[in-house]
């Protein structure tokens, strides 16, 4: 029988790991996009702040929103709880108090990543070393998830990890869509729209699977449909919510959380995928709030405190 406190630690460890991975992907892809586009196209680094949702705290800390400051903030900033550095540190802290429920390789993987990030987070800032640093983060989190998948019993502990990871994944996907689709619809550089939509896909590691599944030209609508509704792509909102649903089915006393999850799925199904004449921002906002209610239900049902270890 899983302790409530441990369940909470696991849930947060999975969320923080996923956040670190997703942030690394988003930063890596944005760097690529900026390098790709001609300099006259006004793409800035600021959408990154909007995605991670920490603009206010950033402004309190930095005077200019230039590349260096923003990347430092997202990758290596101690004052930003959502930075890659802090996320990995928090994941490790949460796992440190729940080591006994998981295979030791998992802990070793996270600890190893933590030691790397603690020693080399500076490498994530300079463009010359940035992708190598980010790829190590992405690769290590993937390896940890792989170790979990192939060595951990599908017990309650595993389900809390699964639910944490997928709620975070769904949340991050909606943030990316919200900000990117928003700035795309503003049509800053129409001739590069395709490039930008491909970039959205790559931010969520979806380019290849999109190509295989959709088999048509890239368009805003097809990308939106794929990232929101695809049932087979593991980083779509739909797939992530299905995983949460599946996790909840394996847990005791899950009625309330399952109900919130059903509402999120129902709402998702209503989100239109046309870019003309709809307020996508409004829909995605609603979706994010509903996903947040699943977290609220988890905390209320299972967790001792409502604050994670950090």
């Amino acid at each position: 029988m899983l302790l409530s406190r441990v369940a909470e630690n696991l849930y947060w460890a999975a969320r923080y790991l996923e956040r670190a991975e997703d942030t690394a992907r988003i930063v890596r892809e944005h760097t690529n996009l900026i390098v790709d586009l001609p300099t006259r196209v006004a793409v800035t680094w600021e959408p990154l702040l909007a995605i991670i949702g920490s603009r206010h705290a950033f402004d309190a800390r930095f005077t200019t929103a230039d590349e260096r400051s923003i990347i430092r903030w997202l990758v290596a900033e101690r004052d930003n709880a959502g930075s890659i550095l802090c996320s990995i540190e928090s994941a490790r802290e949460n796992l440190r108090s729940s080591r006994e429920v998981m295979p030791s390789d998992v802990w070793q993987g996270v600890n190893d990543l933590y030691l790397f990030v603690a020693a080399h987070h500076g490498d994530g800032i300079a463009r010359s070393s940035r992708s190598r640093f980010l790829e190590r983060v992405i690769g290590d989190v993937l390896a940890v998830n792989g170790t979990l998948t192939s060595t951990m019993s599908r017990d309650e502990a595993f389900e809390f990890l699964r639910i944490g990871r997928n709620l975070e994944r769904a949340d991050m996907a909606t943030r990316v869509l919200d900000v990117r689709a928003g700035s795309l619809m503003a049509a800053v550089a129409p001739e590069y729209e395709d490039v930008q939509w491909l970039s959205v896909l790559r931010s969520l590691s979806g380019q290849q699977m999109f190509r295989r599944t959709v088999r048509g030209p890239v368009s805003g609508e097809s990308v939106l449909r794929f990232l929101l509704h695809d049932r087979d792509f593991p980083r779509s909102v739909r797939f992530s919510l299905e995983q949460v649903r599946r996790g909840l089915r394996a847990l005791p006393r899950a009625a309330y959380a399952a109900e919130t999850c059903e509402r999120a799925v129902e709402l998702l199904e209503q989100v239109p995928v046309t870019l003309t004449g709809t307020d996508l921002h409004h829909w995605v906002d609603e979706l994010q709030l509903t996903i947040a209610t699943v977290h609220g239900a988890m905390a209320e049902t299972y967790f001792v405190s409502h604050t994670p270890v950090r």
Partner: protein
């Protein structure tokens, strides 16, 4: 070529005074010489890296916060002949049997006091005697289920018990991890000789814990390890043992005691009963209803549940009464009194400042003796007379005169040494040994234990909280390649 030196005057664990390897260490010493310093340093580095990535840590306090440090490990093992270890094993088992009989007696009939073997006023003055435990009869009469005794070897090679830790002894996880790391560093040696395995400890501990369940070991008892939490210096060990035994690691806030005096834990499925608690929290923090009212580490009502017999606690509350350094001085007499046997393991001669004549002797020879507070652990408060400053001696004299019962003194035991890798070469460093003894229906002694080493040249302080390191301990069986199992 690694040169292995001997320290002047001290007994070395691997080589004798002529520089010849001791029989059980022959293979190892040959290997060390063949490897040379350079290769040894490479193996040390690999071991350090393995410890870092595996997250084998201990926590030290600095500026009021706990800091996680990599566990200090010296790659050169310490070797003990299995023949000597069998004797030591029997001595430790005998000692703990007597101590458990003593504790059970103190909390029940107190024959030992009535028979005039142990002074009544010492008992009433003991800070670790818990009147709240009077009349309780734990399973098998055992109170100290897990004991870590510290052994030291004097210049003539005699092994002495320096102290017994009966409250929440720690270090066993490092013994197991050290072996894990040493196996990688010296894989070839493990194949060539019979080094007794240590990794059955978690299994033995798990069996012991289940055996004391109120409804018996076959009731599928729920066993938990109660930790003060992540900031405790031994948290790594708590987590390690919980994982190895396969039990839940709980904090006080995870447990509640209901109106029927049942201990329950908060799980995702709701409250679930707990049968056995392996506690790694000191008595005084266990239950704010009975002990320190401000403690948030423990569980209100836990003592009620224990007294009612609905839950077993290891070590039992109050067991620490027998690891008092004053009680230590009586252990040889307790062995004779309870078992009618002569002690198999020697006690270091101990002066008890409680007695005026012994106190006078101590005060007259302060500069020759080691003085220790009766109730501190971790090496705190120890003053080594021959190395103390005049001011320290004056201060110590005043402390003893102010509270004589709290002090004991012993002659300086010149700890044995073992070759240790320091600054890229082998140098003799002082070591001690902490074996772990389990008591329940039967007994179990670790094959060897945790060897701690003082990393500073000449230092006798081996505690990891004060700059000590550790070594793997090899019990080498020269006669018999078949593993030897202790069964006290």
């Amino acid at each position: 070529m690694a040169e292995i030196r001997n320290a002047t005057g001290a007994w070395d664990e691997l080589i004798d005074a002529e520089g010849t390897p001791r029989p059980a260490a022959t293979e190892l010493v040959a290997m060390l010489r063949a490897l040379g310093d350079h290769e040894l340093v490479a193996r040390q580095d690999a071991a350090d890296l393995a410890i870092l990535t595996a997250g084998i840590t201990f926590t030290v306090y600095s500026d009021g916060r706990g800091i996680d440090r990599a566990w200090p490990f010296d790659v050169v093992p310490r070797v003990i002949d299995a023949t000597e270890w069998r004797r030591t094993d029997r001595g430790l088992t005998q000692r703990l049997r007597a101590l458990n009989l003593f504790i059970d007696d103190l909390y029940n009939d107190q024959h030992v006091v009535r028979d005039g073997v142990f002074p009544a006023d010492l008992l009433s003055g003991s800070v670790n005697f818990r009147p709240q435990c009077l009349g309780v009869r734990p399973a098998f009469g055992v109170w100290a289920h897990i004991c870590g005794s510290d052994l030291v070897r004097d210049a003539d090679g005699t092994m002495y018990v320096l102290e017994d830790n009966l409250r929440v002894p720690s270090g066993v996880s490092y013994m197991l991890e050290n072996r894990h790391v040493a196996k990688r560093a010296f894989a070839d040696l493990f194949e060539r000789q019979s080094i007794l395995p240590v990794d059955d400890y978690p299994e033995a501990l798990g069996r012991l814990l289940r055996s004391i369940a109120p409804n018996g070991p076959d009731s599928d008892p729920t066993v938990v390890l109660l930790t003060p939490g992540i900031y405790n210096s031994a948290y790594f060990e708590h987590s390690f043992l919980a994982r190895e035994i396969g039990i839940d690691l709980v904090e006080g806030r995870d447990l509640v005691v209901d109106d029927d005096d049942r201990v329950l834990m908060r799980t995702v499925a709701g409250l679930r009963p707990v049968d056995v608690i392996y506690r790694r929290i000191d008595d005084l923090f266990l239950d704010p209803e009975v002990f320190l009212p401000d403690s948030t580490l423990g569980v209100p009502g836990l003592m009620r549940a224990w007294r009612a017999g609905t839950v077993a606690i290891a070590n039992a509350p109050g067991a620490g009464v027998a690891d008092d350094k004053v009680v230590y001085a009586w252990v040889p007499e307790l062995i004779r009194y309870y078992l009618g046997e002569e002690p198999l393991l020697a006690n270091v001669p101990t002066y008890r400042c409680y007695y005026p004549d012994e106190r006078d002797h101590v005060l007259h020879h302060l500069d020759e003796l080691v003085t220790k507070p009766a109730n501190e652990s971790g090496g705190y408060g120890i003053l080594i007379g021959p190395r103390a400053t005049a001011a320290e001696l004056v201060e110590r004299r005043a402390a003893i005169e102010a509270d004589p019962r709290n002090w004991i003194a012993q002659p300086v035991v010149e700890l044995s040494t073992a070759p240790t890798l320091c600054n890229g070469r082998l140098e003799p460093r002082h070591v001690d040994l902490r074996p772990f003894i389990l008591s329940g229906e039967s007994s179990y002694v670790t094959k060897g234990g945790l060897t701690r080493v003082a990393l500073r040249a000449g230092s006798l302080v081996v505690n990891s909280s004060q700059g000590g390191g550790s070594k793997d301990t090899w019990i080498v069986d020269l006669d018999d390649p078949i593993p030897y199992w202790s069964n006290g």
